[in-house]
């Protein structure tokens, strides 16, 4: 074997190995862009004014500059919510103490899910309320932001278990309110794989 050939083989092997290594993800901006005054504007979560489990105002100001993972649930949900919450707890354990990172759970059933009831629920599942907010707001507003801003199909359905049909997606939002990724909250493997996406966004947000 000639020296050139050996060299070529070594270099191509190294190149191959490097190509296998996943590159740092350049996360996309998800959602449909809008045209405002002839300019294309990125999809953004609209500003809202709700309260949390302690009846403290929960609005765009609280989330400004925070990377957060959102989900939609209700405390009496007998179908997918416990699985999703188990995975939210998994995320809580992994990112405990991470600055500028929050978990946000919006209740689809504000009539029954009073702040006090949500607080009890949060304590029962072991939520760390220093990083996790349980959000209470007018039903129509919550439904609207779920469907139009977070792209989570959610609607009232008397035939659905618990009275609401909704998806168990987890939505990753950056510090400017842009949707940057999502995972199936009911699928353990999907959520564990999603840690890479969260890490990438946190790294970019520093």
């Amino acid at each position: 074997m000639t020296l050139q050939l050996r060299l070529l083989l070594t270099i191509s092997t190294i190149a191959l190995l490097y190509s296998c290594k996943p590159a740092v993800q350049d996360l996309p901006y998800l959602g449909r862009n809008k045209i405002v005054d002839g300019q294309e504007v990125r999809h953004q979560i609209r500003s809202f004014n709700f309260i949390d489990q302690d009846s403290i105002p929960f609005n765009a100001e609280v989330l400004k500059g925070q990377v957060y993972l959102a989900d939609f649930f209700f405390t009496s949900c007998p179908s997918i919510c416990p699985r999703v919450m188990k995975n939210m707890l998994r995320v809580q354990e992994k990112y405990k103490g991470t600055p500028n990172f929050k978990l946000v759970s919006f209740s689809l059933d504000p009539k029954r899910d009073t702040p006090a009831r949500m607080k009890k629920y949060a304590e029962n599942i072991g939520a760390d309320l220093s990083m996790w907010h349980f959000v209470h707001g007018p039903k129509d507003s919550i439904m609207t932001i779920a469907n139009e801003d977070y792209y989570v199909p959610a609607f009232e359905d008397p035939d659905a278990p618990g009275g609401f049909d909704h998806s168990g997606k987890l939505l990753l939002i950056d510090g400017n309110g842009h949707l940057r990724g999502f995972a199936e909250g009911t699928e353990d493997e999907d959520v564990i794989a999603f840690f890479d996406t969260i890490d990438a966004l946190l790294a970019q947000s520093k």
Binding site: P78, P82, R83, M85, L89, A116, Y121, N124, I125
Partner: protein, 132 residues
Amino acid sequence: MIRFFYIALAVISTATLTQCNSTEYPSGKRYYDAYCGNCHMGDGKGLSKLIPSLEKSQYLIHQQDELPCIIRNGIKSTVADSSAEVQLSMPAHPKLSEIEILNICNYVNHSWGNQQVQLNLEDIKDKLKLCN
């Protein structure tokens, strides 16, 4: 050489069989996964204080007579708390047949460290007659 071959064959077949029969109650597991697993989870561990764990469960030992009724009719209980009155409940599954309830009971009773006697269909029918 041939002896080694047969030993290897025996080891492989035993390993395969063990994997196939990961539960003695495959039908029960199927119904459990469909009707119970979303809350009590596939590993029976539930969710913190919200949904009780079924692993080595003392509750399960004490509620053997009520188990079929609990699966069919659910549980409603109200817990008074200083800040709120919270209703903790387990949803009812009125459409489950006696056979399906039997399969779930036997699966749960023999999983995650639980060791109860195997129930038969007559047991389930008798216990269901006593539902409130």
